[in-house]
């Protein structure tokens, strides 16, 4: 298992290099000049030229890339043109926020999606199934920003139960931190819950049709034991893979949610950075996100093997 993981990690290095080149090249295609975006009102040509020199923007692209990647290999992701802060520091400060949001959303998604999927599979064709499907579909189709603003208006403005926005670090005040994250995590979680529900349902349906389930039923086992003990465990395997991959999607989905609830995470940082043409920040975030994706894929595969020991042989 360990050598498998090591091999996979090694293989991911070329992927990361490709990603970095790709991001770097794409950025150069973006219209708009970082210095112009930075200077804004102070568009004095002399100032602009001075800043271009200062940030090496007049160098050929390959030279800029080598300078950047050389720094990255030493743990230096460069400096944000906008705030002047080191990118690695910015990423480090946002990472826990985004991870907390992702984990809490995943908890919401799993707590809603998996039981709903099981129930709707077991009660296939009944009213319960239809209702669960409609709810799931709504979850998928409701835009995050709409749901977010509605929640703010209801929960924060009308009922004054939860803060409308902002963020408190988990280490500072755990209870308040969870409270500020409840709504955004719920918003993000609903869309994922719908995916999870539908996958759990189809996976469960597949398993419930298997011979061994019929055998289990024939042996006179209770329906609860059949479903939870025999079927669910096997149906879980593809769901776990999906959950791990959704985790990556979650980071992307967080962009809008973080904007609405003004949570200082990855999504918000990268949106601002793109608008400001703050290249170093965009590159840093994309690279770290790619690493996260690769890692989550690895976790999914490992979980797969653990859940289904037959795969260990191969």
């Amino acid at each position: 298992m360990l050598s498998y993981i090591a091999r996979r990690l090694l293989v991911s290095i070329p992927t990361l290099i490709l990603v970095s080149i790709f991001v770097f090249a794409l950025q150069q295609l973006l219209p708009g000049d970082p210095v112009l975006a930075l200077a804004g009102e102070d568009r004095d040509p002399e100032t602009l030229e001075r800043l271009r020199e200062l940030y090496h923007l007049n160098d050929p692209i390959w030279m800029q890339y080598l300078r950047w990647i050389g720094g990255v290999l030493q743990g230096d992701f460069g400096q944000s043109i906008r705030t002047g802060l080191p990118v690695s520091e910015m990423i480090a400060s946002k990472l826990p926020v985004t991870i907390q949001l992702a984990v809490m959303s995943m908890i919401f998604a799993a707590a809603i999606g998996i039981p709903a999927g099981i129930i709707s599979a077991v009660k296939k064709g009944t009213m319960t199934d239809y209702v669960a499907n409609i709810v799931a579909l709504s979850g998928l189709s409701l835009p995050n920003f709409w749901l977010g603003i509605m929640l703010i208006l209801l929960v924060s403005v009308r009922w004054q139960l939860l803060p409308a926005s902002g963020y408190v670090p988990l280490t500072e005040d755990p209870l308040q931190s969870i409270r500020t994250m409840l709504m955004p995590a719920f918003v993000l979680g609903t869309a994922l819950a719908a995916s999870l529900m539908r996958h759990t349902r189809s996976s469960m349906l597949g398993v419930l049709r298997q011979d061994y389930i019929r055998t289990a039923r024939a042996k006179g086992l209770g329906e609860r034991t059949v479903v939870m003990h025999h079927a669910f465990r096997n149906a879980l395997t593809p769901v776990v893979t999906l959950a791990a991959l959704l985790f990556g999607e979650l980071i992307a989905g967080a962009v809008l949610t973080e904007q609405i609830f003004t949570i200082p995470g990855f999504g918000k940082m990268v949106v601002d950075a793109v608008f400001n043409r703050d290249y170093a920040v965009v590159q840093g975030v994309v690279l770290v996100t790619a690493m996260g994706f690769i890692l989550m894929n690895l976790v999914a595969d490992a979980a797969y093997v653990m859940l289904n020991p037959r795969l260990k042989v191969s």
Binding site: G32, A37, L38, R43, E46, R82, L161, T262, P264, M269
Partner: protein, 500 residues
């Protein structure tokens, strides 16, 4: 069990942040400020934070008069090339070091020499800062520079502790303003606390202030309504009614100095060679086809102010000879016919892809069509638009300017031949001469006359024309007392308090 669970959830939700916040004012801003270093900062919201954090040599009143702040008085020599400033005594920076002439000298030199300084061009005429004595400095200029005092009433005149120059100023700014820096989490919040040794501490009634960037105006308002914020900047005009209808909130408004207008490409590259770039009559026809008052009513619920010139109506430099033009379709058509386009003409116009700008240009498109001008609208993301504009890749651009207290800052860069923002590359020797002279004269009446002369030419040639002046709209919690808005859009905290 159910009861206990309910109780638990209630307790979880109930321990809300509604607990007393002390006397800390929480302000919602429309975006995150950039570097908190007056020499490097360039955003408008950054200036709002600086207002609490960093004192300037000179301040400005709501009537746009320059008044003392760190400098108690100043005199400009006959030839306009020497400025003598007396400095306030007993002022200390947040790190406890004293503010004096040496500090002024060090600050100005830093603004002029720092690699990443955005202030160089604003104070480029200062050749030498002579420290006459501890509280007297003499600025020696290379040429008379009337707008210089206004620059010293903004970021170029903000003083930071010279002892902090070696550190990372952006991450830990040390100024001498009423509040000192505590912490910043990028894109989340900036916390300041009252500076006990402030020279004017009696006027500061708050214990602290937090700035929270919240880009979406609906969310910003929701935070004000829920009590998570005490004051919000840039209230959307369409939300004013909501705020008025609330018993707990009030709204405040000030006419602003900034404007939105339409800039034409008259000489910047091949794209300038189009009928609108070549013929001022067409530009005038378009201007006459637009009902500025209607735009103000429809898009801004009547909260903005229709505009006719670079100086806003609140400025003493406003030129009465050019009031807001009335819509005149017949004259617009006559001008088109005169220019040889009686059958109509098309114009490509770019605009920033923001909701308000989009509404404005769509109204313009409809109004211009009635006069026979077909406008092709091209929405662009702001940084892209600026870049295309600078490169000459446009016929017309709907673009704005945040406004400066001195008239020079609102016109020179846009229409003078070498102007930094002159993206249409308009060039007229007489305009250049008049504006340069207006820069060198310090007498206000004389300056006014020069700007008005320049206006006469500009209003005929219309390299750009103006649509409306933005107003500063604020949503304010009923708990806030003593807040009054200023035309420069800054949030001044002297005399502001919270009742709860």
């Amino acid at each position: 069990m159910t009861f206990r669970r309910t109780l638990f959830i209630a307790a979880l939700l109930g321990s809300t942040a509604l607990a007393a916040q002390g006397q800390t004012l929480r302000i919602g801003l429309e975006s995150d400020p950039d570097a908190l270093d007056p020499d490097r900062g360039r955003t408008f919201v950054g200036r709002i934070v600086f207002t609490a954090l960093c004192d300037k040599l000179i301040d400005v009143t709501p009537d746009l008069e320059l008044i003392p702040q760190l400098a108690t008085e100043w005199t400009v020599s006959e030839d306009g090339k020497t400025v003598d400033m007396m400095l306030r005594e007993g002022v200390v920076f947040h790190d406890g070091t004293a503010f004096d002439g040496e500090a002024v000298k060090a600050n100005i030199e830093r603004s002029q020499t720092l690699d990443s300084s955005m202030r160089k061009s604003e104070i480029s005429t200062i050749e030498e800062v002579e420290v006459v004595d501890t509280h007297h400095v003499r600025l020696k200029l290379s040429a008379p520079d009337a707008p210089l005092l206004a620059q010293l009433a903004d970021r170029a005149g903000m003083m930071i502790s010279p002892a902090s120059f070696d550190g990372d100023v952006s991450a830990n700014p040390v100024c001498s303003g009423p509040f000192k820096f505590v912490s910043r989490v990028a894109q989340d919040r900036i916390e300041l606390e009252k500076f006990e040794d402030y020279w004017n501490a009696d006027e500061i009634l708050l214990d602290g202030v937090s700035y929270l960037p919240i880009p979406d105006s609906t969310v910003r308002l929701a935070n004000l309504q829920s009590g998570d914020l005490d004051l919000i900047n840039r209230l959307a005009a369409t939300d004013v009614e909501t705020v008025k209808a609330s018993d707990d909130l009030t709204y405040e408004r000030a006419d602003g100095l900034g404007y939105q207008g339409i800039t034409f490409n008259t000489q910047n590259g091949p794209k300038a060679d189009n009928p609108f770039g070549n013929d001022p009559r067409l530009r005038k026809a378009l201007s006459l086809a637009i009902d500025r008052a209607a735009i103000n009513q429809v898009v801004f619920a009547g909260m903005a102010a229709p505009a006719s010139q670079s100086a806003s109506a609140v400025s003493p430099y406003f030129d009465e000879a050019y009031p807001v033009p009335e819509r005149d379709i017949e004259q617009a058509k006559a001008l088109l016919a005169e220019a040889g386009y009686a059958d109509g003409i098309t114009l490509d116009m770019q605009f920033p892809n923001r909701p308000e700008n989009q509404q404005v240009v769509q109204m313009i498109q409809a109004m211009a069509a009635e006069a026979g001008i077909q406008i092709n609208l091209v929405a662009k993301e702001f940084a892209t638009m600026l870049s295309d504009q600078a490169a000459g890749d446009f016929q017309a651009s709907q673009v704005g300017w945040s406004g400066r207290i001195d008239p020079d800052g609102n016109i020179l860069g846009f229409v003078s031949t070498d102007g930094g923002f002159n993206d249409g590359k308009y060039s007229n020797e007489e305009v250049d001469r008049l504006l340069a002279e207006a820069r060198a004269v310090s007498d206000m009446e004389e300056r006014k006359a020069l700007y008005h002369q320049a206006n006469q030419i500009l209003m005929e040639e219309l390299p750009l024309f103006y649509l409306y002046n933005e107003a500063w709209l604020y949503g304010v919690s009923g708990d806030v007392e003593g807040f009054s808005p200023s035309p420069d859009g800054m949030i001044r905290l002297e005399g502001v308090s919270l009742t709860e």
